[in-house]
Symmetry: C2
Subunit: 636 residues, 2 copies
């Protein structure tokens, strides 16, 4: 392995400046330099300005016979309001591997939603000296993938309401004749996509005029039950007033009003499809089989039934190519997809990971982040993402901080605007030790997948040696392969060299064999119960609605899908206040939904908000453009 | 002038194949080749894939001292359902100038809305052998400008409802304290954008703690009157069910429901701002001063009052750079902005035209298209766009077809799905002659701006020599500089060489001096009446609502803006059925609205639909991706 040409060593300053100031202090390499380091030729990628490029899926075909690199997933302990620095650690680890340990490395990150950038949250490009740059391009439009998702999602939504409307105003024959208009020669024809519906209906005829009146009716009338529609519109803006709306109130819509709502774009099933697909052909099929609701007879109605699966694929054809960017130290990053981590599986895309594994090659490293704590993110990484990708990780990192462990050990609640309790700022070994039950359960659960677990303690300046030793001891006792302290926020890759070495050893030690938590061919309930057990639950209870939905999905033939639990990220249990490692609780399943195109059933444990709001003083008050330089200011 | 390197001569086939087949039969040049022909160095543009590049606004600064080329605007006769081929003629003329007449040339086109591509309309890249390629990229996401507009428009919409909500639940003091939170040192500060509101309120204090309770209230409470809100949400999808909706029905919104609706994205005022702005700094100001409604006291409330003008500019910072593409014959095209042609001014952007005029240089040609007929598109080009750009056209082209003139002469209505009346397919000179009153009035009106008028007769195979002679005679009699027949649809640039020669002569004949139709410093009503007169109206009548709005805008200090009439494009009058050149009618003004940031008042003559719908069988039934080749199929 030769040293990467584009590596840049940082000169760090203490105290650590603001993220945007660090990001702006570095002139990024032209992205074609980063691409060249990965042996990508210009026909392998499309430039999007100077610092972003879309790597084309065709790279996968060309490198089909190459071997994969090592595959590392980064998860965390149960999150707290104090923040654990999972993205920052993911970036820091890669900066260490690439810029200090001379390994080929690729970081695979999720694309953040643009909405929250203007609300409370700010950006998501890492922090301190471990960031993806340019951070404004990372946090804003990027290469338009989320915009493509919004467009596709909403085209499908428009198709649903319009179809119901047109069905309600036309006879079977008029409807059929409009769906199959005569061509210039006066002959009616089915368009290609219509053969998908004909096949589903068991009609093998190929000419419209051959259909019986009964078949005409079956083909032309989807008879969508408005109350069964689960497909909502989306927007990549924090717009709480769209959570629940009534549409169709215009006079032309003739009273066909309906209550529905908007989610934020990253909650769209199309985002989950993008993250789980493996090829253009696979994406076409997944988009076409997305279920938007049921017919009045209880049959699932798909995007292809509405004739729109092809158009959705056209809208998404560039979005399937991951975006290449770089870290502060010039190591390469693939940014791609960013599905919700509760109603979806919260992992970046399979195609990005696949491309990355080929590009780094054997002895190289791909580090990918899973959303939320390991109970959610890593679990879904293993049981959903790896199941569809057929990829096998060698190592899982679990990120922890002393502060967060103190909270799991019984530390006081953190209230925004109030000073931190002194326990978080001063040594308190017993509190840390008590909190390690949370870390330990994540280690045990993760190790059960057959991977080596490395614990990364993301150090804050107030952490003491005794506290850190307590964590390392607890981690090793729980079966971790290794546990190391890192300071990449303050020092960049140099601060994560020990972590990089530990991850290398964990990957090369052999003996890893991915074991799923559950097989697919058991019942939906048995799968839910297997996951609940990993949370520490002693049982599961279902509402009547959940029972009904499970029965429906089973009847519709969807019971073979993996399960994607929509549970709070703040606890192993359904109760966000249960810190540490709760056990013996009964996990309540309120409802059960499905993303059939993406390919999972998602039980709702509690209520998930899928559209954030803006606070009284949103971040946007600080954001502006320096019109003299064209630089973004005030982005955090 | 040396011959352009990237010029490609077409081999044409008869009969003319489908647009998509012609577009796919040509391998486009890499866009860097097209850029090189324009003497653009790689630091002047950002690539977006292989066939699109954003030309950076900084080019304008660098070329400040260069002279402009000739400036040609393409308008049309009053449109009919038969189509006149204005875009096709614009492209064909440029192919002639660039590929056959050896002139430097740049075509400036509007970006089409993506929504209608999946509805009825299909694409908008020209047609036959006069097209912009790749046509799928032109018609779909392009470089994301419309997506940026959607995001910015909807961020502002979310800010409005959320602000009303937060004001309704908080005391003056709590609201103020939240708006000016303490920094790390515990000190409250105004953010930069807040000084814009303070200035508007006449408050010169710079420290939050210095404000009196009265000033705190004035500053923190926008007191937006929900009934006055004119800002709507947008989406680039034909979604008729969003035309009228009720928002805020979620339990968290505590009953703060409101009736509103979505427009298609290109109807956003932000699109009009993009089209009329001249620099980043100018765009920042225009976005900030967009008025979203009034306070309860009747004061206009702006995006900057909401603190969001800077964030909108950040979202739009890349959208301000026009997108470079190419025609079938390899001549360069700038695609930029696509505002509605009724509620907005329907012209492509000022910055694209400015960059283009510098890039072609003296003796070069910039051809830009104006929406709808010359009564609307060319009128707004002159009185709104040229007023803001300070650019002066030398020549205006008016596109006509024999068929459309026959309809203006009294030909039967055209009904979709029924065969054309034989009058349209066979020689009928009297009908053509009768229809020429429409052409003549457009010529007279356009000539009054002080430009030379060239009439382009876009020839169909059924047109006869006698019919064409009738048009040419009528055109010359009405004062046209020249009138020529063109066949660019069938022959590409070769078919528009005569037109190219005529346009060259018109531009170089001297003697042009732009005269506006009205000065800005007369009353809103006087301006409306000047325009109405050019339509042939003998007077104007205003509803009570229109009177009220005119009074309000005058009182608010906006009466100095130019006027943008929102009138049907299908007639000089307000009645779409009035073909030819109606006169003596009273033009009814139903309502008057304003786009203060874009910079115009728009009187509504009738009702304008700002959200199209989908038909029973939308175009999307034919659209799919060939997943083996990655090519789009079925796009028309």
């Amino acid at each position: 392995m030769s040293s990467s040409r584009s590596v840049r060593k940082l000169e760090v300053v203490s105290p650590v400046p603001a993220d945007i100031d660090i990001a702006n202090s570095v002139e990024p390499f032209h992205i074609s330099e980063i691409a060249k380091d990965l042996n990508l030729s210009p026909n392998h990628y499309d430039l999007y300005g100077k610092y972003k490029a879309k790597v084309l899926l065709s790279v996968l075909d060309e490198l089909e016979s190459s071997d994969n690199g090592y595959y590392v997933v980064v998860g965390g302990i149960t999150p707290t309001p104090l923040g654990e620095g999972k993205s920052t650690t993911t970036v820091g680890l890669c900066q260490a591997l690439g810029a200090y340990l001379d390994r080929k490395v690729l970081t695979c990150l999720r694309q953040p939603s643009q909405g929250p950038t203007f609300g409370i949250k700010g950006g998501a490009a890492g922090g301190g000296y471990s960031q993806v740059i340019p951070m404004d391009e990372f946090n804003l439009h990027l290469t338009g993938d989320i915009h493509a998702i919004t467009a596709a999602n909403n085209l499908l939504a428009a198709a649903i309401d319009t179809r119901i409307f047109h069905e309600s105003t036309q006879s079977d024959k008029a409807l059929f004749n409009r769906l199959c208009p005569p061509n210039k020669e006066g002959k009616r024809k089915f368009s290609d996509i219509m053969f998908r519906r004909l096949k589903k209906l068991g009609i093998t005829k190929t000419q419209p005029e051959d259909l019986t009146p009964e078949e005409v009716k079956k083909f032309a009338r989807l008879e969508i039950d408005p109350n069964s529609i689960t497909w909502r519109r989306v927007m990549d803006v924090n717009d709480r007033f769209l959570r629940k709306i009534t549409v169709g109130q215009g006079p032309e819509e003739k009273g066909m009003v309906r209550e529905t709502g908007f989610d934020i774009s990253v909650a769209s099933e199309i985002m989950a499809v993008l993250a789980l697909t493996t090829s253009l052909a696979d994406m076409r099929e997944r988009l076409g089989k997305m279920v938007i609701g049921n017919s009045k007879a209880g049959e699932p109605i798909t995007a292809d039934d509405l004739g729109v699966g092809g158009a959705l694929t056209v809208l998404m054809k560039d979005a399937i190519n991951p975006t290449l960017m770089q870290t502060l130290e010039g190591t390469p990053v693939l940014v791609h997809a960013g599905p919700f981590a509760n109603i979806a599986h919260g992992n970046s895309s399979i195609v990005a990971d696949k491309i990355a594994l080929k590009l780094v090659g054997p002895q190289g490293f791909v580090v990918t982040e899973a959303g939320f704590g390991a109970d959610i993110g890593t679990e879904k990484f293993m049981n959903i993402k790896c199941r569809y990708s057929d990829l096998r990780p060698q190592c899982a990192v679990i990120v922890a901080t002393i502060r967060a462990l103190k909270m799991h050990g019984g530390g006081l609640e953190v209230v925004a605007g109030k000073p931190l309790d002194h326990a978080y700022l001063n040594e308190n070994v017993p509190l840390v030790e008590a909190g390690c039950v949370n870390l330990a359960r994540h280690i045990i659960n993760t190790k059960a997948y057959g991977v080596n677990v490395v614990v990364a303690v993301n150090k804050f300046s107030t952490d003491t040696e005794a506290e850190m030793n307590a964590v390392m001891n607890a981690a090793m006792a729980a079966g971790a392969f290794n546990a190391v302290i890192c300071t990449h926020h303050a020092h960049g890759g140099k601060g994560a060299v020990d972590l990089g070495v530990a991850v290398q050893r964990a990957c090369t030690s052999g003996n890893q064999h991915l074991k799923y938590l559950y097989p697919l061919d058991i019942s939906i309930k048995e799968k839910i119960e297997a996951i609940a057990k990993s949370y520490g639950a002693s049982g599961v209870e279902y509402t009547e609605q959940a029972e009904k939905q499970i029965e429906m999905y089973t009847k519709q033939g969807f019971s073979g899908l993996p399960i994607c639990m929509a549970k709070t990220q703040y606890s192993f249990s359904h109760n966000a206040a249960d810190k540490g490692a709760p056990s013996g609780f009964i996990l309540p399943i309120r409802d059960v939904r499905a993303s059939i195109g993406a390919g999972f059933i998602y039980p709702l444990v509690g209520t998930m908000s899928t559209m954030p709001g803006l606070p009284t003083r949103p971040c946007f008050y600080e954001i502006d453009l320096d019109t003299a330089t064209g630089k973004v200011i005030g982005l955090s």
